[in-house]
Subunit: 376 residues, 4 copies
Amino acid sequence: MTTPHKKLRTAILGASGYTGAELIRLLQRHPYVEIVLLTADRKAGEPIEQVFPHLGGEGLPDLMALSDVEWAGLELDVVFCALPHATSQRIIRGILHATGHDFIDEMVIEQPDDYANAIKGSVKVIDLSADFRLRDPDVYAQWYGGEHEALSLQKEAVYGLPEQYRDAIRNARLVACPGCYPTAALLALLPLLSEKAISKDGIIIDAKSGVTGAGRSLKEANLFTEVSEAMHPYGIAAHRHAPEIEQELSLACGSDLLVNFTPHLIPMNRGELETIYVSLEKGQTASDLRDILKARYADERFVTILDEGAVPATRHVRGSNNAHIAVFDDRIPGRAIIVAVIDNLVKGSSGQAIQNMNIMFGFDEALSLEQMALFP
Amino acid sequence: MTTPHKKLRTAILGASGYTGAELIRLLQRHPYVEIVLLTADRKAGEPIEQVFPHLGGEGLPDLMALSDVEWAGLELDVVFCALPHATSQRIIRGILHATGHDFIDEMVIEQPDDYANAIKGSVKVIDLSADFRLRDPDVYAQWYGGEHEALSLQKEAVYGLPEQYRDAIRNARLVACPGCYPTAALLALLPLLSEKAISKDGIIIDAKSGVTGAGRSLKEANLFTEVSEAMHPYGIAAHRHAPEIEQELSLACGSDLLVNFTPHLIPMNRGELETIYVSLEKGQTASDLRDILKARYADERFVTILDEGAVPATRHVRGSNNAHIAVFDDRIPGRAIIVAVIDNLVKGSSGQAIQNMNIMFGFDEALSLEQMALFP
Amino acid sequence: MTTPHKKLRTAILGASGYTGAELIRLLQRHPYVEIVLLTADRKAGEPIEQVFPHLGGEGLPDLMALSDVEWAGLELDVVFCALPHATSQRIIRGILHATGHDFIDEMVIEQPDDYANAIKGSVKVIDLSADFRLRDPDVYAQWYGGEHEALSLQKEAVYGLPEQYRDAIRNARLVACPGCYPTAALLALLPLLSEKAISKDGIIIDAKSGVTGAGRSLKEANLFTEVSEAMHPYGIAAHRHAPEIEQELSLACGSDLLVNFTPHLIPMNRGELETIYVSLEKGQTASDLRDILKARYADERFVTILDEGAVPATRHVRGSNNAHIAVFDDRIPGRAIIVAVIDNLVKGSSGQAIQNMNIMFGFDEALSLEQMALFP
Amino acid sequence: MTTPHKKLRTAILGASGYTGAELIRLLQRHPYVEIVLLTADRKAGEPIEQVFPHLGGEGLPDLMALSDVEWAGLELDVVFCALPHATSQRIIRGILHATGHDFIDEMVIEQPDDYANAIKGSVKVIDLSADFRLRDPDVYAQWYGGEHEALSLQKEAVYGLPEQYRDAIRNARLVACPGCYPTAALLALLPLLSEKAISKDGIIIDAKSGVTGAGRSLKEANLFTEVSEAMHPYGIAAHRHAPEIEQELSLACGSDLLVNFTPHLIPMNRGELETIYVSLEKGQTASDLRDILKARYADERFVTILDEGAVPATRHVRGSNNAHIAVFDDRIPGRAIIVAVIDNLVKGSSGQAIQNMNIMFGFDEALSLEQMALFP
């Protein structure tokens, strides 16, 4: 394997959470990435093997507190930001101002050819928080409890769903990766609304997620003893991913809409499944929907539309960046059922973030994301 | 404790499955029950502790093959039938003919002490299979792949949802216990349709079940390795519980309807959760729905309507005969979300069967069903 | 059912943990118990259904802070103390002084009907913490990090393993319930050491426990995401249950000994399994060991010695107060393997505490503990 | 990446089991491997995506029945045999006779340099069954219920534990991959016995495994409902991995020995943990043992000896080819505790098989095995 002489100097902020760990797992095997900074305030000073023993033995830098980072000398090419919302916007605003190195012109990389061109600007930021997902500052303020503190960046940020916004992502300085639930819902629904195959009214998204979606924070509700052998809905009609889904679906169909979005906590680690109930536009059938999706995703590496009769299951995508989507007839005439599955930590989060990085830097989009699903 | 001199001579047919085991677990602690026959064709000749070590040490009879049973001498008072469909109808027809009693007209029960009178009449049968649930023979034939072989009994059978049909159950000779999914759906929806608070159109029942719902049969799909850390829908738009739900809902609202019913397999043993999406009739609110349900179930021992804001979880009813139901506003105006949870093996099956028995024999309805939920 | 006119006025201190919840689950169905006080400092003021929705609807008192309890007017008959160690000893010392009775010397109980006499005397305390288990204050100080603050009570306390100390428990004012791991180990080993059938040297106890053993406290290591699909040992050669096991085994064999005790965390809620490796005394066989245990426990309600070939499994005792023990030949001559299983929250904790209460008050020892295991 | 012009033509026999699937998952990303044959008798004719949807979309050959394979034209370079024992020996004997192509001399591969030399012989076979693990035909017959049918091959086969037999593997035509349990036990114990740091007497191996170790076959004991929330030992003192462990340990210490080996089934998919109890030779300490292991494995890519205090957990190696081993003081003087973890499907089976392939063909030993562990 011929690697370029210089690898992307990469930072992961918020490296002690599960999305942070997943970024490390995947990026550490990326041929053009060198991880030079890992931050984690609560675990500052600890070696990564103490926080995540499964990532040990790789010569990774110790975890630092954010406030101790000296950005100037780091010469970062790319920053993955896996911090809590609100914190993210402050840090990212700071980075984009502070780093200030406009040209990495000394960087000469032989191939892939486009790569050198791609990074000739300044540092690029890939944000995994919710801070730059919502385009309307009022909607942000309403759902996240306060004014946005980096409004110009919010305007600049590109919504990082590669299958929808690949061209914009390619030239973006700041990419806001979609939430895990929106990723699955949008992959399933955007083409159908664009093609006016389904009604924009009364879309019902019954979502089920493994527990990693709740992160590594200490909450009684996330204890093994509370979750195991149990399930329950949460955030009913009030989950922050609802406005995010609505924003993108509204853009696709050209007018505002509201969706029902009801997530459930399932006793498993990884995996997200959405059962989506839709009304067909006149003359449309489930089979038509399947054809639209198949055509739309024919050239996509990570999205598979299943043949009639095949049933998606989260185990088929575990640990991989793949999305599986299937369409079914409803028993009620004029309706259809769409089922989409992803691994919330990969396509729903860290994997998609890396897919975005690959696009932003002109790499093969699948670099370090080629792993097949781990089953059982 | 003053027990009557004579206990009900009780048979459990199909005792090597999970519903069979659950019947034993609960009935063996019932003060008025004596288990005198356990059948299980594949395990014939084995002591119960070999098949279910958790039920050992109780002096229960060994398992017999159905074909070896000599019914005449058994003097059974009650038969629980946990056999596969089609088999059930044949066996039950045989039992009711063989025992030779046509009706228990002398049956007058005022209090438990008098129950000895109650069993002077003929044997009573409580069927846990699907064979006598569907009232329309054509619907049965369509969904279960063949003509019904006991049509007159099918007409006679009472649908064993106590909260709906308590009076008919009290006088029934044959009770057909509802399926687990229909139990939760009907408890939630029947009062709302009766009161015309919700539309009968477009009802969507997204159901999630633990794996015991699939029984103890050997299927690759039910291996630990296939189910654990995984989830998937099944029987989409084609599950046999859909016509059962539709039958009862149609009766409640006075005209035919179709529902969307989509079950999912969840990596846990017990527990069933249904998230039901409904359209409100004009002027109704989620709060009105809650009030209707609270009023309807105020006197019911096993159905609890949660206060606003409380969220049902399967762990709250595990191992118990309780159903918890809650109503939520939908984000889409004019709609509401209803969430119902039960333990599929108890209220969804064996517990409800025993609740029916208690009613049929004039006992306190909660006898042997008083256990609180087991959590964690 | 003929209940006495007066029920035991019962307090549960530390009711927001899992052992507290399990005490409520079982005691609330005890015919001679009335729960009049529930404390939980972090949840003070909350109704129990908010903390444990599975225990709702029973008219239980709200949770109180310990410091707000006015002991004088409570007229408690029995206190279950499920508090952290160190706290326990202070509270129990306070209770036994505050209630002001020194001994129940007039206590003569012959049958449940007479139990009203039994509670004329002083309150009795059943402690589920570790505070009164260790007889030697130095050993306590060494393992629990400080001097004991109620030394006279420590001397008075009876170690609450009913199968070993039933007579002393019957007359005790303060019972110290064994730890979950010691319960299983002692039931298996005490008779064998007493009978000199096994060597006291080199006993190896490889223990595996479900996660409820770790309680409901917020630790990263107990998150679902950390525990599920994973296992690991902990407290290797340094677990506090080791000296407790050694104390009782030393008493049984008449001289000091050390054991290897290595616990492991297993991804399940309930259940504890100990695989114990022992050297046989000359002339002894695995079969002899089985015979000794069978003879020893022939009259015990909750201890079953399995026949040759049968294999214990935690699922066979889940939710019940039963212990299953089996003996196996080792492949290495002169050695044997003993396997013991219990439900750590029942026989290993709250169930055994109630068994002790039943003994202390002259009730049938199995009252409220008759439930069969819940499987699956 | 510069791949050689020709890839190894690779067959996987028994591709519908979990080890087969794991071989496909890993080999399909190996730069020098082309899978040209997949067999699975019960699933013959099915495309792989039907049997393992997580492996779909890769253009893999459909599954064939073994009896339908026309070996002659396949020009296989390497065969992975994941068939049941007894079947394996017959098939492998057939292959090694039938294929008969002695030189793949047309194969010209530029680099890695040694590779062309490595495959100049005929097809190579890597067996994952137990058929060629035991060196003594009598021991084989005793434990596997019949005479071995390929005795000369049994003599020729090399035991495929790379860390122990790397040189012999490099030149082998037939490699017998170790069982999963022996892999972990031998990595931990071989250096210690070779160095005479521990006694060969009384070694106790308490093993715990996830359920994938039981394969994908339909047994009631492997149903989710039987395994979940449960654990139990099995094959006590009679597991076939015991003689395999003893064979290799005896070789290491120069005389026969017997071990206690007691496996337990744990409710998780992947992962194996062995807690090994040993007696120290005079003058040795746990710390000495750790030093011996650290020195022994300093240059090994897949074996990590943890520093004092660090505790192995199966989640740290899930999905990876890594083994983690740690040594602890025992509470009993003169003894020590060794804990080893692997993923049974990777280092314990398919990953180790590929590691062997890499050695046999002169590749970098870690090719396609570089994945970091998947956690959570």
